[in-house]
């Protein structure tokens, strides 16, 4: 058992444990944090597979942005824990069957039951760049699928904004352009005056 294998088992155990805690944790905030842990440890597994681009992107996109927004929402929601947890045991068998089905599908796709345990990670030379290979594949062989996915995401984004956008008549806003274009003379008037009045000029000034 070499060092990498030990690391793999540590990361794998962490991922599974964290994923379990995501669905069993009482506090939704803790569940989200366990999901973050699951993402980080699976990115560790990807690093062991020399897929550094995917590993870093997982941390960057999911942990750094998506989960932050999740936390943001979970922190602000007024969640009734009891209502959320009722029916957990009733739906557990159904969920377990679904999960089993998904595992079966994945194994099927990845080369059949026979090859479990026989899959060897491919070793590459030191100058091999996973990022470059991935980029080459995405922008040559799979360019249409990639563009389609991008357009789909764009449509989803535009739709989400369009659905939530509402113009309120009573909302006040500032015109930033006007604010930036303000000149000094619009706001301040410099008045020239002498700092001292000449002696004897006014009768009131000389009366001390």
């Amino acid at each position: 058992m070499n060092f990498e294998t030990i690391l793999f088992y540590i990361f794998a155990a962490l991922t599974v444990l964290a994923a379990l805690r995501v669905i069993t944790a009482r506090n939704p905030m803790h569940a989200v944090l366990f999901l973050v842990l699951a993402f980080i440890s699976s990115s560790g597994i990807w690093l062991l597979l020399e897929a550094e681009f995917l590993a870093m992107t997982l941390v960057l996109v999911y942990v750094g942005a998506v989960m932050v927004l999740f936390l943001f929402v979970v922190m602000m929601l007024d969640i009734n824990l009891e209502r959320l947890r009722e029916g957990f045991w009733r739906w557990l068998p159904f969920g377990a069957v679904l999960a089993g089905l998904m595992v079966f599908q994945m194994v099927w796709v990845l080369g059949g039951i026979d090859s479990i345990g026989g899959i060897e990670a491919v070793k590459h030379a030191a100058d091999y760049s996973n990022t470059k290979e991935l980029g080459r594949l995405i922008y040559t062989d799979y360019v249409y699928a990639f563009e389609l996915a991008a357009v789909l995401l764009l449509i989803a984004m535009v739709a989400a904004i369009a659905l939530t956008l509402r113009r309120r008549k009573d909302a006040r806003s500032q015109n930033v352009g006007d604010q930036v274009a303000v000149k000094r003379d619009d706001r301040v008037r410099i008045v020239k005056m002498q700092s001292e009045k000449p002696v004897g000029g006014h009768p009131s000034a000389s009366k001390e």
Binding site: M56, V63, G64, A65, M75, V176
Partner: protein, 355 residues
Amino acid sequence: MMELLQILQQAGQDLLGPAWLPVWTIVKIMVIVLPIMGGVAYLTLAERKVLGWMQVRPGPNRVGYWGLLQPIADGIKLLMKEVIIPEKSNKFLFLAAPVLALAPALAAWAVIPFFDGGALANVNAGLLYILAMTSLGVYGIIIAGWASNSKYAFLGALRSSAQIVSYELAMGFALVCVLLAAQSMNLGDIVRGQQSEYGLLGWYFIPLFPMFVVYFLAGVAETNRAPFDLAEDESAIVAGFHTEYSGMGFALFFLAEYANMILIAALTSVMFLGGWLNPFHGWPLIGGLTDAVPGLLWMLGKMSIFLFLFLWFRATFPRYRYDQLMRLGWKVFIPLTLIWVVVVAAWMQTPLWVW
């Protein structure tokens, strides 16, 4: 110097065998982290001195000669103070939050090249690693705000998370321009890509000037520094996310903030100002004279310029209002960086691209 290192490596190998690699790595980590900690300590002094001078007052000048022992005194004071844990807080997360803030700030230093070949890890996806690590820092702030069970801390955490997520996009696009220009995500290669016979004219801050400005300003926003320090906005929400922290917990947040400032300064120097390169390389007369200066000094000099800018901004600008901050991020920086990515990508295909 290099031979000495070789001899040391050999002796270590003979003495410890396979255990030598972790030991040597820990030594290297110490060589990077300890100066950063020292830098953080004296950056706080520099900040107070610079702010003092800008406001025509002397700054701290009582502890030690010229106030030089002030950071040490502050550190001892914070160490001795009691760590108060609020009654209804989540204790584990409350104590974990400062660590979660500091750890990514230090982890990101692993790929920064201080001189040619002088990085702890020569990672091919270095730029991505940096982005990933800096995006993790927000967890410390959010968790601190939530675990404190305090309204002010909570508001600070919400502000901070929205701010960091918004400015990260602009930062990411600015870095996409850099990696387009350098055609590499390895920070060492990015610096080497800026090497030319014309000294500082070969650096990326010239073709990518708008990105240079956007990146540094987004960096100021990411580190929650004035004028973007809405997460701790003391005039509105007491001290933001670290309202409830005292003693060492507070000190760790402080360390994280300053370590992040130094990190942003180092990154801006590496990506836009040629890292360890001599600005006068190849220039008549002055180039020959300055080529002997070690790269580490150039790097530290460039970092100091940006650190001074951080302090200068704090002394000069009033704090942004929250909607102004969001407008700057989403309506100014992101469109600007998006357009510049396209401009750079097109520009690179023409013979006009000389970098």
